[in-house]
């Protein structure tokens, strides 16, 4: 693993329910930068985050995070490593029985012995960073989708992690909420010196903030580089994804029998 890489994946193979999700994926995620992992739905982008976080184990290959081989870590070591990671889940994953304040305070209460007044101040600072200091007494059920993700973001940076992983942060957001999240991800990365991994299929937003990006399809990486390099990438499949063309190397039609056969039309009348 290079010195500048925070995460390094080498020849990762992973299958689930008899289906090969990754077939020898290798990538380097640089320290202190935003790396976007993009690809069509169902290509295993979220699975990749779970492999990095040690929630899943690869069939073969190595996954190194900050010098630790994640699949080889013992349970206690893995939980210890996760204290340096933050993850923003697609649904926000706030604890529904806790208020916004208590959700953000949760990691501090579990992992630190900080006095209550200090936890109070840190929580308000984190909520201020995402613009929701005034919402601290609300319950998760009272929040909009965008606010939920901002609270989840505040919670994921509560312990000042070194790495933060965003799972589809823009999915289902209105343009204003999306703009807010784009700004927050960029600002937090800059101000806290985080290593950020952004999984998304929102091409425009992702490329606007990432330093590097890679596109996954068919269990492997089909394109990687800076946003400018990707825009001029020669692969037709990469261009189809970036431009959003409905037909191309990824066909519009799901594989099926010939239409004449399916509709029972003899002699190819269709």
């Amino acid at each position: 693993m290079g010195l500048s890489s925070y995460i390094s994946l080498k020849d990762v193979v992973f299958s689930r329910s008899g289906r090969r999700i990754f077939n020898g994926v290798s990538m380097e995620i640089p320290r202190g930068k935003i790396t976007a992992i993009m690809g069509p739905s169902g290509t295993g982008k979220t699975t990749l985050l779970r492999l990095i976080g040690g929630q899943l184990r690869p069939d073969s290959g190595s996954i190194m995070v900050d010098g630790h081989s994640v699949p080889d870590l013992r349970r206690k070591e893995l939980y210890s490593l996760r204290e340096k990671m933050g993850m923003l889940f697609q649904s926000g994953a706030l604890f529904t029985d806790l208020s916004v304040f208590e959700n953000v305070a949760f990691p501090m209460r579990v992992h630190t012995d900080l006095p209550e007044d200090m936890i109070h101040d840190i929580v308000l600072m984190k909520l201020e960073a995402v613009g929701l200091r005034g919402a601290r007494n609300l319950m998760p059920s009272e929040l909009s989708g965008g606010m939920t993700r901002r609270v989840a973001l505040a919670r994921s940076i509560a312990l000042d992690p070194e790495l933060i992983m965003y799972d589809e942060p823009f999915a289902g957001q209105d343009p204003i909420a999306m703009g807010v999240l784009v700004k927050l991800i960029r600002d937090l990365n800059g101000s806290m010196g985080l290593t950020s991994v952004l999984v998304s299929h929102d091409v425009k937003e992702s490329l606007s903030i990432c330093h590097y990006a890679c596109i996954i399809a068919d269990g492997k990486i089909i394109g990687a580089g800076t946003p400018a390099e990707l825009e001029s990438h020669p692969s037709e499949q990469v261009q189809q994804f970036l431009q959003g063309h409905p037909d191309g190397p990824v066909p519009f039609h799901y594989p099926a029998l010939a239409a004449t056969e399916d509709f029972g039309l003899a002699g190819g009348v269709l």
Partner: protein, 260 residues
Amino acid sequence: MIDKIASLGHSGISMVISFGRAGRFLAGVLSGVPRPVAGFPLLMRQLYSVGVLSLAIVVVSGLFIGMVLGLQGYTILSDFGSEAAIGQMIALTLVRELGPVVTALLFAGRAGSALTAEIGLMKATEQLSSMEMMGVDPLRRVIAPRLWAGFIAMPVLAVIFSMVGIWGGMLVGVEWLGVFEGSYWGNMQASVDFRDDVINGVIKSVVFGFVCSWIAVYQGYDCVPTSAGISSATTKTVVYSSLAVLGLDFVLTAVMFGNF
């Protein structure tokens, strides 16, 4: 024919795998050093949720079952001129059998299904995953307090059920049908043995509490994280718990009262 045998074998293997997973799950929940300071508030919250909130259904059911026992007991025993033994009959029936068994069935329906649905929803909404990613083990933080709460609450609920049932039986037998109150309590005191009857009944409810809670938390944790998956897991909790309670009751009764 071969297909049927293969299908039977497949079901058997699936069942063994399922038992193995449940056993590993239980070992994961129970392993590790207990942290009383951090764990006590979590346990108290769950005791309130599975214990205190189950009180209403347990008390009302206990009252009516005691009253029905009083009525049936009087009708049957008066044919033999033995209605004075109604207190003894009600107390032994409740303390030995109906208290632990019916409380466990009510517990599975009220608290067990709620535990499964709650944990299943936490899984479906990625709350358990987010806890893992924060370096917090959900087995210790979410599952263990719920398992222990069920284990502790069940015997207490069963004792309350039996007490209320005995009182309900007295309402019908003594207050309504006119059995002499001294006979009701006196026969009961003379025939109910604390160690053989009361303690054995409590042991039964401890076993049922553990099994019902284990099934409930395991089904929630292992469910498919979709609405259909949670619904199926909740149903399984009630069905498996009920069958386990009734089966175990036979085994425990044979061991405790069989006199072989």
